[in-house]
């Protein structure tokens, strides 16, 4: 059991309490699987995502890992419908992703973009964009990510980690069916990171599908229900965390796990 710092007043691990944006059980996620079919994305004549076929486990936490520049952020953007693929499709329950579906998703970016407003106003803004006007809701979200004391501070004056927590709170406030997290705990202190992991776990337990990118192997082991390894715009393996860390199938995944820099010599490929 992890020790929680005092300033992160969070509800119990069961995630059943009614005090937070994510605790409401979303409708049966198993009927809404997310898939990519022959998904490709090219820019400047370079194939950055190379005809990916991928079905996410309908529930739980899918962790994407891979070297810098492998295409993880790009793939998240494609899955979230933010950019149009060069070819191929993203499907939701077998159907193309519509705006209505996209409204049920949320994403925390690798570099959080916060509005030039207070912490509270940042949350209120996204709630209003969904027609939610309960004035207490924003406060509950802020409390959940441990920012109550900073509610009236301009968001852009927060520290890097506080900004990430706000970005996460903002995404959770939308009560999304799918939550995309792009290295959302990268600049958090260990206590805050564990606290956020706990929130992510609660979100999973209450039925939210989580697709997250992390370079933190410990975090992947703690959270992942499945691991997807992406290399050079291709999925090289997908499976349980245990299988992945004990016996990675691809040489790239093994090198990644062991912290080995890829070079021409050890892969025989173009990975200078």
């Amino acid at each position: 059991m992890l020790e929680r710092p005092l300033h992160l007043k969070m509800s119990g691990a069961g995630g059943r309490s009614a005090d937070a944006g994510v605790s409401t059980r979303v409708s049966d996620a198993s009927r809404h699987p997310l898939e990519a079919r022959a998904l490709s994305y090219a820019a400047d004549g370079k194939l950055l995502i190379d005809s990916i076929d991928l079905s996410f486990a309908p529930e739980g936490i899918s962790v994407m890992m891979g070297y810098n520049g492998a295409g993880k952020s790009l793939l998240l953007r494609l899955l979230h419908g933010m950019i149009e693929p060069s070819s191929g499709r993203v499907l939701w329950s077998g159907e193309p992703v519509t705006e209505e579906v996209r409204r049920q998703q949320a994403m925390v970016f690798q570099k959080p973009v916060l509005l030039r407003r207070t912490v509270l106003a940042n949350i209120e803004f996204v709630l209003k964009s969904r027609g939610l006007k309960d004035p207490q809701q924003a406060r509950r979200v802020i409390e959940r990510v441990g920012l109550s004391d900073l509610a009236n501070r301009p968001a852009r004056l927060l520290s890097g980690g506080e900004q990430q927590r706000l970005a996460l709170g903002r995404a959770l406030a939308l009560n999304p069916r799918i939550l995309f997290l792009d290295e959302a705990t990268a600049s958090l202190d260990p206590a805050s990171m564990l606290a956020i992991e706990e929130i992510v776990r609660q979100a999973r337990d209450s039925g939210h599908k989580i697709v997250m990118v992390t370079h933190n192997i410990g975090q992947a082991k703690r959270l992942a229900d499945e691991i997807i390894f992406i290399h050079d715009g291709r999925i090289t393996e997908q499976g349980s965390a245990d299988a992945f860390f004990e016996n990675p199938a691809s040489r790239e995944a093994q090198a990644y796990r062991d912290g080995v820099i890829l070079t021409h010599e050890n892969t025989g490929e173009l990975n200078a």
Binding site: M82, E99, F109, V113, L115, R116, R117, S129
Partner: protein, 235 residues
Amino acid sequence: MQDFAQSFSLALMHIVTLDPDLIEIVGLSLQVSLSATVISCLIGLPVGAFVAVTRFPGRSALIVCMNALMGLPPVVVGLFVYLQLSRAGPLGFLGLLYTPTAMIIAQSILITPIAGALSRQVLEDLHKEYREQFSSLVLSTAAQIRALIWDGRYSLITVALAAFGRSVAEVGAVIIVGGNIDHLTRVMTTAIALETSKGDLTLAMSLGLILLFIALGINALVSTFRLTASRYGYA
């Protein structure tokens, strides 16, 4: 030099004693230029905001035009408005020539491109920063524009001040369509131009001083807004 010193102290005297003629001229100046500023912002801001967040064919050409129009020579605008409003012109029947309204129209035309082009720049920069978040939230264009205008309010106020500064200081347009008629269309700049040529340096100098203060005041306001905004993390 004697002359100058004497005129200068007289000019100061006019200002300090709130000379009624002076007040009238300054009042009309502010009224005309503030009206023009409001109109230019009401037109320029929405246009600028729309161009900032949308993509359509001919957009870059439009931006080039807007930027180029910022440098419209006031006398050309004055001449254009004169031709429209003169008795023989298409809008001559309105009888607006040589009225404050004509001056407001001319100055509005002069500074609307400034309000439009500068707010487009401000909002487009902000939009570049916010775009991914907006796209993730699936916000409507109208909702995006509202959020951008609110979050860019400090910069947009400085845009309005720049437009006001340009209109209050210009002489070419208002002298052609206003005619510098005493008690009717006399504003600071036209009075300075004509009083100087008539040799009445006192009035010209007091108005010049006031104009200078206004210009300094605008600059001070702009810096204050910038500073406040960045200090509180809103810039």
